[in-house]
């Protein structure tokens, strides 16, 4: 089509060259009065001549200009046998202005065959954002109606900088973590589009994206925004689940729209549908379009999170169902826990159920039914197999969800069940023992321990004993008392020792004195007294020598004492015999045999001998 068109144009150009026509040269400029900052708009210069020299205007330095895209056309007509030809040169500049404000596009000039014409300077207002789109002139045609009917006004191809736009609509801009945001990507166009290429989504950082089923865009719907008609169409719907808190920016969605653009001017001669579409070249120009970034404020969930919170955010209801409550051993039962409502069902975790020991639990079968929007249901189906007979209680399930409407945690509860397991004991015996793995205590944090109760048993601080003098004086006193006691005891011992010693030393002397007295008594004829004095002398001597008190003096004691001092047995016998004689004579005075004088002599001899041994 395009190559054929170009062929025909060349043919007409050749024909026109034959008939030169001195027509007045005219330079016109077509530029929008307003344009949005950042959006591309076009400035079109049209001159009804070929050849020559076009001096472009000096664009504002802040504009980024591409082009010119130059095209030349020539029309030849015959009217009443007279041929006239019109040749047109079109120069298109694509301009993007970044700063809002009023700008002037200076005059441009065209020089041809010594004739210089100039196009007037144009004022242009650059506005921030997409406000220009609704005010710039133009017509929007829905794609469905545009086939073959071109109503573009003016000689230029109907195409503006803001004619095609893309918008991402979000249901809310302030959510909690996990609360789904439904987003719609919508296309707005005022020009004919032949198609859309390369729809490129950003990576939605911080969100989990779930695409919803969206019907393929086949036709555009007409929508009037601020009095301007747009063809609109939904490209994609999806749900976004925020995963982190903070101000999260969704980067622009980018796409390339294939814009149908007419390149030739309309000709009155060929003003009918067939020729229009045939001659006016409709070319497809790729145009990259992007949506504006969207910022969503994601609020964190309040702390502390309940222990049975498993990430569910939304408004839900909980229901449960047990397939049967009376069962044989080793027969399966189903426990179904379902969560219904709108929210992040996909991210809601499994409820924690404490199944009684003796019932074997398998990992639940999880089914999610979500219908386009976030409303739906999630079902956890537990397969339970009782391994022991008896009655078992399944406690009520408590499942805490965060309700963004109420802005608080809501605890849902299901009912509890009791299961009666019947069956023969043998089966239960065969059943595998239930292994209950131990679990370590979970430490949630570290904090100081609580204060001590009680009266505290307060005491006033006192002077420590070691800092007082009297404490140390006690030691001195104790030492002093001990010394005194020791000295006294020593003295006593010494005295006792002295007493014994003197008795010992004086023993012989005392005995001899008594013997002398006995001799005197004997001389005066008092034999009995003499004998008594003799026995006193002997007993007293032994008592003194053996350090014995008078009261303990008996024959046995004396024997023991003398034997301990290694006295000769002969001397002991002699002692015994003398004592026997004296005792005998005391009770039987008139004795025969030994005279008292001889006895005295024997006693004197004995004391002398004993004194040698006992010293």
């Amino acid at each position: 089509m395009a190559s054929m068109k170009r062929y025909i144009l060349i043919l007409f150009n050749l024909l026109a060259a034959l008939a030169l026509n001195a027509q007045e040269v005219n330079l016109t400029v077509d530029a929008p009065e307003r344009a949005a900052a950042g959006e591309r708009f076009r400035i079109v210069y049209t001159v009804n001549a070929t050849g020559g020299q076009f001096s472009p205007p000096a664009f504002d330095p802040s504009f980024s200009v591409s082009g010119p895209q130059q095209s030349t056309s020539r029309n030849v007509q015959w009217i009443n046998g007279e041929m006239s030809s019109v040749s047109t040169t079109t120069l298109i500049y694509y301009v993007v202005a970044t700063m809002p404000g009023r700008y002037t596009i200076p005059a441009a000039s065209f020089e041809s065959k010594n004739v210089t014409v100039s196009a007037p300077a144009r004022e242009i207002e650059i506005v921030a954002g997409g406000a220009a789109a609704s005010q710039s002139q133009g017509q929007v045609q829905s794609q469905g109606q545009s086939q073959g009917v071109s109503q573009a006004s003016g000689a230029q191809a109907a195409d503006g900088g803001t004619d095609v736009s893309l918008r991402l609509h979000v249901s809310t801009r302030e959510v909690y973590i996990g609360q789904p945001v439904s987003a719609t990507l919508k296309l707005y166009t005022r020009v004919n589009l032949s198609g859309i290429n390369e729809l490129k989504y950003p990576d939605f950082k911080g969100f989990l994206r779930e695409d919803l089923e969206t019907p393929e865009l086949r036709s555009l719907e007409t929508e009037v925004i601020d009095g301007v008609q747009y063809g609109t169409g939904v490209l994609q719907r999806f749900l976004l689940y925020p995963q982190i808190s903070g101000e999260i920016r969704i980067d622009p969605v980018q796409m390339t729209a294939m814009v149908q653009q007419r390149t030739s001017m309309r000709d009155p001669f060929f003003d009918d549908p067939f020729f229009d579409s045939f001659f006016s070249g409709v070319s497809t120009v790729p145009r990259s379009v992007s949506s504006l970034p969207v910022t969503i404020r994601v609020k964190p969930l309040p702390e502390p999170r309940p222990a049975d919170f498993h990430g569910a955010v939304g408004s839900f209801t909980l229901s449960s169902d047990l397939s049967k409550s009376e069962v044989e051993v080793n027969d399966a039962i189903d426990l179904t826990i379902s969560i219904k409502g709108s929210g992040n069902l996909n991210l809601s975790g499994e409820p924690g159920i404490n199944f009684p020991q003796g019932i074997e639990k398998y990992d639940p079968e999880v089914t999610v039914r979500s219908s386009g929007t976030a409303a739906g249901s999630k079902t956890f189906k537990y397969l339970l197999i009782p391994r022991n007979t008896g009655s078992f209680e399944i406690p009520p399930v408590s499942y805490t969800v965060f309700d963004p409407q109420q802005q608080k945690y809501v605890t849902l509860r299901s009912e509890g069940y009791s299961i009666t397991v019947t069956g023969s004991g043998d089966q239960a015996e065969v059943a595998a023992p239930v292994y209950v793995p131990g679990e370590d205590v979970k430490y949630l944090g570290q904090d100081i321990r609580f204060i001590r109760s009680g009266n505290g048993s307060l005491t006033l601080v006192r002077q420590p004993l070691v800092k007082t003098t009297y404490y140390w004086l006690w030691f001195v006193l104790a030492l002093f008392v001990a010394s005194v006691v020791l000295l006294l005891r020593r003295e006593q011992l010494r005295r006792n020792a002295d007493l014994t010693g003197s008795r010992n030393r004086k023993a012989a002397r005392t005995a001899r004195r008594r013997l002398a007295k006995a001799k005197a008594l004997l001389g005066s004829g008092m034999t009995e007294q003499a004998n008594s004095e003799l026995s006193k002398a002997l007993w007293g001597y032994l008592a003194d020598k053996l350090s014995m008190p008078q009261s303990q003096i008996t024959r046995e004691n004396c024997h023991t004492g003398m034997r301990a001092r290694k006295v000769d047995e002969g001397l002991i016998t002699e002692f015994d015999s003398i004592i026997s004689v004296t005792e005998y004579s005391q009770y039987a005075p008139r004795t025969e045999g030994e005279s008292p004088a001889a006895l005295l002599e024997r006693a004197s001899l004995l004391i002398g001998k004993l004194d040698n041994v006992l010293d």
Binding site: R449, G456, S457, T459, L460, L486, R489
Partner: protein
Amino acid sequence: MRRAIAIIIILICSLPGVVSQSAAERYMQAGGLYSSGDYSGAAAIYRQLYEEGYRSEDLLYNAGNAFFRSGDNASAILFYERAKLRAPADEDIDYNLQIARSRVTDRFETVPRLFFARWFDFLSLLVSTNSWAMAALVMFVVSLLLALIFLTKSRARGRLLSFWLALTALILSAVMISLALRNNSLINNNKRAVITCSIVTGRSAPGENGSELFVLHSGTAVTVEQELGKFYEVKLPDGNKGWVRGDCMEKI
């Protein structure tokens, strides 16, 4: 005579009770404040009681807790350390002190003390100074009695036994006296101090002119080596020394 002794005993027993009647009430009041969340109020009462001269392991421990909760970590450490001196084997004090210490900015490679020095200190803190002192006195008297037996007894076997027992008792008495003295110096004359200023500079000389050696933060425990005017020479747990302003620390 017996009556007089009874009266004296009653007076001695009732005297501390009468004096600390209001103190016990304030102590209980502080506990109530703590439970209701007014930690700084509780801490103020505990500190007041401490400054009035009241002592008990529980008082110091509770004061540490109240200071910790009210955010004054340095005072919390100070009181926990004081409580630890009175109850060296108490788990709760150790645990809380460890948590409070974990919030201190300064970290040191501590030089561990010799094990017998640690054991000796621990033993000396197990009972009070006066208990050690009384035990030492009793042991001294026992040793004297045994010595008397040794010196006056005439039988050889009893003499030898009494000699060794007397010697043992004398040594025990000496050990107890040193424990009593150590206990006293730890509790009443402790060289350790806790930094209370949030940040303070250690210098090479007393005064503001010495060159800066280190920076300490609140809660760090140091040992005071000597005092010169307003400046104390402190030894850090890693062995370094420097001069620090004395009003920036409180002795344990």
